[in-house]
Symmetry: C2
Subunit: 215 residues, 2 copies
Amino acid sequence: MAEDMLLFWASGSPPCWRVMIALEEKNLQGYKNKHLSYEKNEHKNPDVLQINPRGQIPTFKHGDVVVNESIAACLYLQNPFKSQGTQLMPDSVSQQALVLQRMLEAEALQKKIYDVLFYEYYVPEAERHESLKLWESYLQQMGKGSYLTGKDFSLADVAMFPDLAYLPRFGTLRKERYPRLMEYYEMVKERPSVKASWPPTWREKEKEQDTLKDL
Amino acid sequence: MAEDMLLFWASGSPPCWRVMIALEEKNLQGYKNKHLSYEKNEHKNPDVLQINPRGQIPTFKHGDVVVNESIAACLYLQNPFKSQGTQLMPDSVSQQALVLQRMLEAEALQKKIYDVLFYEYYVPEAERHESLKLWESYLQQMGKGSYLTGKDFSLADVAMFPDLAYLPRFGTLRKERYPRLMEYYEMVKERPSVKASWPPTWREKEKEQDTLKDL
């Protein structure tokens, strides 16, 4: 079914992981894929560059269609596979607005988390808490047991979860401080699409150094 | 018609400008709006924070719907106003893919241009040229007189043009080096939606200091 698809990806890369969750949710298992290593600079391999001149992953191809921005790829899949698997984009116009907003907001959050983790860019402690408190409040508003935009799992969750998963992995997300975020994390972690796409390198090594300390 | 809409914006901010172009293209003139000044820190005003706790602009509201990520807002408008004004998202699935890809790619380009202009973040000369050459090649592929994704103006152009407009404003974009980009710039600049939303502060002062030198 998904044999006309090709994905170049790296383990634990939030943008790659998003696309992989979306593919699972849309029952598009069995796509061709190549697991690349950033450490070995494999995202600059000629077969990647041929499809994506920017030499970035994810690089995703469906037939002749190339989409290699993660948010674009997740959005793209919703139309040709609308009636297949999970409906990740709701029909209601106001719910669409919320899903789009949280999705793009997750992209901004990802950049911030990445900066802190990998580039030692200084984001003040207070500001880090601000970001997380905001997401905690989004979940609080939706009520217990909900996803980011309501009772249904959506593209907003697809975009956000890989960012969130970095926090318990690289530090401690205190349950007393972020009860809904942690509950949400525990719930989404068990979702088949997330389990199927869980970063293989994370399976080998359960936890990283506590870069983020106690948040 | 657009009286149930409210936009907080700043002059020349590419994310704000995107939303303003999209509104014009969708014939949604007459929306309520407030022109804010970054210099005076007005994006942290209580009336902004009430709608957008992150204190960022654009902040956009349509009835009870709040969308304040520029790409999300542009995408959002396509559904409730599908049959009104310019069709900015094509019906064809493969064209949708291209529009989404370029749109999100423009967001990445914007961050890079901003970093260079305002945060004195060092992006090597060669890398700057690489980015621009890529966009030049996208336009080359589409042929003379085309927009970013083909013969029709689309959300990709809405997202990209405000980024591009910074280049001739803050420096020189050499026509011999980027003939299609400059041709494209001159063409889109004359579009009514772009003229109507042209940054008012740019009208007052025709050109900024040549921060970008000769690109």
